[in-house]
């Protein structure tokens, strides 16, 4: 079934969206939340399990101190209060990839609560209130067999790998976000992207979205424009890239608007986001069958972080993002406008890392906001999801600085990297991108250009040196761009006696 949708402008003309975002982030601890199994991604199936994370009869959990510390870090960075005393709770529901058929989580006593943060969209700052950040554990992973392309529907059976079961998760929940309708989707995207940067800066997660270590659920509801009565919300799951967050929110706004304007009712339900088709489909309806029967986890004792510990962690936090932005702008010598582009383009952390690798701020900005931003835009990905690392940028720029590449060739190297053609050296070799630094080859090309363009030489000789530009163009063309233009001009000028 394809749900009818309204045009976004029509939807926003009639309704105001209200959002809530739940982000799950996998921590980068060495061991799982409640046992000593490793957390490495991509290990062979069921090689990182033990009685505890397999939920074997008799096994008992013990809390990972670093998991708690990371939760407190995240809480503090989001300006939350840190609980003086809190407990884990069991969230009871059956699912084959959940070993104990309850998730060890936190319920009404989260470790961090009542915080806020800010995101910038189109130069405007929006404040986002944080409801809570709490600790929990991940589930195993099911592979569905026998159906179409790994889908659950039509599958004959499933295969479960519990390596991921028990990896620590922090769930960060916003309060309702109400921003001008036309900004809602972009704010949602900016928020998730900001969280990614923050978590990286805190060093608590690798935030590999391609590996599912940051996952977003978007709650969306609509209320008639100007009304204060909240509508029924849906929870869209499986929204796992920045662009998807934006698209899924937009889609839900247009879908719900279509339902409501046709006189229908929005169902309170879980919906699934489909990256390929760009739509959400109905999951399960929230019904009385969904009664999680939370109660305090009797196998774990309460966590009561001392204020000394909390202050120690606070002192170890990196500087606040807003202060840091001011400092970086000054260090880099960017204008306000340039800085805004950097932030809107989600390039801040990438540029920081690139500059740390020895690239000038101007060059780092040129690549990330130029060629790479263009590629990201075309593929609908975020800069950080492109597969190009700050190290790649630094290595390419180093070759430009050494005169082995010019900007035009460098762009081709990036193109090759984006297309997965191998390492920088392999791409340069395969595409034949090295600059010709051999003077004799250049002089031969210059001789050919002079011979082929007597009229231009005539003009230069008759006192119009600017006409030499055409000769440089001819030489560059002859060299198929693989020459340093400055060098060509130098040699040509000498030849022509200018």
């Amino acid at each position: 079934m394809t749900a009818d949708v309204l045009e976004i402008d029509d939807a926003l003309a009639q309704y105001d969206p209200v959002m809530g975002l739940e982000v799950h982030v996998e921590l980068n601890t060495k061991s799982k939340m409640f046992c000593g199994c490793p957390t490495e991604f991509g290990a062979p199936p069921n090689t990182q399990t033990c009685p505890v994370c397999l939920g074997l009869p008799g096994a008992l959990p013990v809390v990972n101190r670093r998991g708690v510390e990371s939760a407190i870090k995240i809480g503090l960075a989001l300006n939350c209060e840190i609980a003086e005393w809190c407990r884990f709770a069991r969230k009871n529901y059956f699912y084959p990839d959940m070993p104990k058929n309850f998730q060890t989580s936190q319920y009404d006593e989260p470790i961090a609560y009542n915080g806020w943060t800010e995101v910038v969209v189109d130069g405007e700052t929006y404040r986002i209130e944080i409801e809570r950040a709490h600790m929990e554990e991940d589930t195993g992973k099911s592979t569905h067999v026998g159906g179409a392309t790994g889908r659950i529907h039509g599958a004959s059976h499933s295969l479960v790998d519990y390596n991921r079961a028990g990896i620590p998760l922090i769930e960060i929940v916003t309060k309702t976000i109400e921003v001008p309708g036309e900004k809602a989707a972009a704010v949602a995207r900016a928020y998730v992207s900001m969280l990614r940067d923050l978590l990286l800066a805190l060093g608590v997660s690798d935030v590999r979205m391609d590996q599912g270590s940051l996952r977003c659920d978007a709650n969306v509801s609509l209320k008639p424009s100007g009304s204060t009565v909240l509508g029924t919300r849906t929870e869209t799951k499986n929204v796992n890239s920045f662009r998807s967050v934006e698209r899924a929110v937009t889609y839900e706004i247009t879908r719900q608007a279509a339902v409501l304007s046709a006189g229908g009712k929005v169902l309170q339900e879980t919906r699934h986001w489909h990256e390929d088709t760009g739509i959400t489909t109905s999951g399960r309806e929230k019904s009385d069958a969904e009664d999680y029967r939370y109660f305090p986890e009797p196998d774990l004792v309460p966590v009561a972080p001392s204020r000394e510990w909390v202050e120690e962690i606070r002192a170890s936090l990196p500087e606040a993002p807003s202060l840091r932005r001011v400092r970086l702008q000054e260090e880099w010598g960017f204008t306000d406008l340039e800085m805004r582009d950097v932030i809107n383009g989600n390039a801040l952390e990438l540029i920081v890392t690139t500059v740390d690798l020895g690239v000038s701020p101007a060059a780092a900005k040129k690549w990330w906001l130029g060629e790479l931003a263009r590629a990201a835009n075309e593929s609908g990905k975020d800069l950080g999801e492109l597969g190009i690392s700050p190290t790649d940028v630094s290595n390419v720029q180093a070759r430009v600085d050494k005169g082995e590449l010019n900007d035009k060739l460098a762009r081709q190297v990036f193109d090759g990297l984006l297309k997965g053609e191998g390492t920088i050296d392999e791409i340069i070799a395969a595409r034949g991108l090295a600059l010709v630094s051999d003077d004799s080859a250049l002089i031969e090309a210059i001789d050919r250009a002079i011979a082929a363009n007597p009229d231009v030489v005539e003009k230069v000789n008759s006192g119009k040196p600017a006409a030499a530009g055409a000769l440089i163009g001819a030489v560059m063309k002859d060299m198929r761009g693989q020459a340093d233009a400055a060098k060509v001009r130098e040699l040509l000028n000498a030849k022509l006696g200018i």
Binding site: P51, P57, G58, F94, P96, N101, D299
Partner: protein
């Protein structure tokens, strides 16, 4: 029949130390006894003949090599089937775990093995320890060696019956609401529920996590204390384990001096509903303690009357969640996997087929007590009652050192008597449950036979957290005074079992 099986664990240890018997001989004697009487008693679900003899031989070899061994090295033991032992079938008395062989040892088993204690096999129990009679075992009822027509108590009826039938000198039980103490009382043996957190729960298949406590069972106070010392102590694998020294239980059991000890008789645990023969033996035992120099007073614990209903909310709630993992996906029984049924359907069918009536009853009750709209009235309120009961204990311990009561309102009843009257069955645990709710130490010691039926009566001692030693002090005093009267411990009065082989 070898007289090795009549010896206490302490005596067996002495025989081995002095070279008069080997662990293999002792182990074989007990295996022979099991073969001879267990068809009638049905204390065991699994007998690990090969493993036990191998363990015994290893101890003998180490002893021969002059190694320093733990006090109980080489003594055989019966293990309740609720604790995991690597490679040995572990069912918790349930069909849903039939054939499951755990890939790991519980902390309990690790400690037993480290102490050189020989594990004979796994003992019968009510399914997932839910019951007071072993009638809820999926593998048949255990019979009380004092009267094979009666139940041995539960849930750890298999462990206590094994002691009373001389199939093992030592056993391990687990006590959630009385599952060590009540079978101890019903079989004329000693059963100790250590302080919650004093013994590790790692590898104990959970019934109610905040109540479950593994502990020692034996025929004498000293044997129980020796076993207690071997298995107790901090375990980093159990978050609720107490990181403090083990109370000096062996010293207390050897000393047994109650002179000056303040003993409180709990007013609320007696009277209506208590069998006259039980009350008579209990009061005689209290008299005896007075003669031995204890200062006996009556103490009121007004909220104990709510302990049983509070317990039957807290336990099923935790159990409903603990037992959710038995879903046919990763281990155990799987029913209805015919290639068309969904995982959800297979879970439903398996749990229907794999769980017995009492387990279903309690899962349903717990699911109800935790569900939205009922939580505050049931589970929440029960937890408040738990606080009040803990305060009753606290107040009492300002006045006295230990509290005492009968261990059970009645003696062991006939098989089948209460099987379909859950509330009557639950009332077996009236006296034992408060200590589980508060986490205190408690124990049952034999104090004679009831006049009505000649069945054993248990004397219940409750002591503050980490004062397990006080239980042993009282138990040892009582035991030696009674032995003087009787000319031996109560167990010597047990009828001879017919040997079927």
């Amino acid at each position: 029949m070898s007289d090795l099986i009549r010896k206490t664990a302490a005596e067996l240890a002495e025989l081995m130390t002095s070279g008069q018997a080997s662990s293999v001989e002792i182990t074989q004697a007990h295996l022979d006894r099991i073969a001879a009487v267990d068809a009638d008693v049905h204390a065991f679900l699994h007998i690990d003949t090969e493993g036990a003899l191998a363990q015994a031989a290893a101890v003998d070899t180490r002893r021969a090599a002059g190694e320093e061994l733990a006090p109980l090295a080489g003594v055989p033991l019966a293990l309740k089937d609720v604790l995991t032992q690597e490679g040995i079938p572990t069912t918790a008395g349930s069909k849903i775990l039939e054939g499951w062989k755990p890939p790991y040892d519980s902390t309990m088993v690790k400690r037993l093995k480290a102490a050189g204690i020989v594990i004979l096999g796994k003992t019968n129990m009510d399914e997932f320890a839910m019951g007071s009679s072993t009638e809820n075992s999926a593998y048949g009822t255990t019979h009380n060696p004092w009267d094979l027509g009666r139940i041995p108590g539960g849930s750890g009826g298999g462990s206590s019956a094994a002691l009373a039938a001389y199939e093992a000198p030592l056993a391990i039980g687990t006590d959630t609401g009385g599952s060590i103490r009540q079978p101890g009382a019903f079989t004329g043996t000693v059963g100790v529920k250590p302080t919650y957190g004093g013994t590790s729960r790692y590898g104990l298949i959970a019934l109610a996590s905040s109540l479950d406590t593994p502990g020692p069972c034996a025929r004498t106070t000293l044997d129980a204390a020796l076993l207690h010392e071997a298995i107790a102590g901090y375990d980093p694998m159990d978050s609720t384990s107490i990181d403090q020294p083990v109370p000096a239980v062996v010293a207390a059991a050897r000393n047994g001096d109650v002179a000056g000890l303040r003993v409180g008789v709990v007013k609320e645990l007696g009277g209506e509903g208590y069998q006259p023969g039980v009350e008579a033996r209990f009061h005689e035992a209290v008299e005896l303690l007075t003669k031995l120099g204890a200062e006996v007073v009556e103490v009121s614990c007004p909220h104990f009357q709510y302990a049983l209903p509070a317990y039957y909310l807290i336990l099923p709630s935790e159990a409903s969640s603990n037992l959710a993992k038995f879903d046919a996906m990763r281990y155990g029984l799987r029913v209805g996997d015919d290639g068309t049924n969904s995982a959800e359907k297979v879970m439903n069918l398996t749990r229907e087929a794999g769980f017995g009536a009492e387990v279903k009853r309690r899962i349903m009750l717990g699911t109800h007590a935790l569900s939205s709209g009922y939580y505050d009235a049931y589970y929440g309120q029960a937890q408040k009652v738990r606080t009040l009961i803990a305060r009753d204990f606290e107040n009492a311990y300002h006045q006295v050192d230990v509290l005492v009561s009968p261990a059970t309102p009645t003696t062991a009843f006939a098989i089948g008597d209460r099987i379909d009257d859950p509330i009557a069955m639950y009332k077996n645990d009236l006296c034992t449950i408060p200590s589980n709710l508060a986490g205190n130490a408690a124990a049952s010691f034999p104090c004679g036979l009831a006049d009505e039926d000649n069945m054993p009566v248990g004397f219940h001692v409750m002591a503050p957290v980490l004062r397990d030693d006080l239980c042993y002090t009282v138990g040892a005093a009582l035991e030696s005074a009674l032995a003087e009267q009787w000319g031996g411990v109560l167990m010597t009065k047990a009828p001879e079992l017919e040997v079927t082989r």
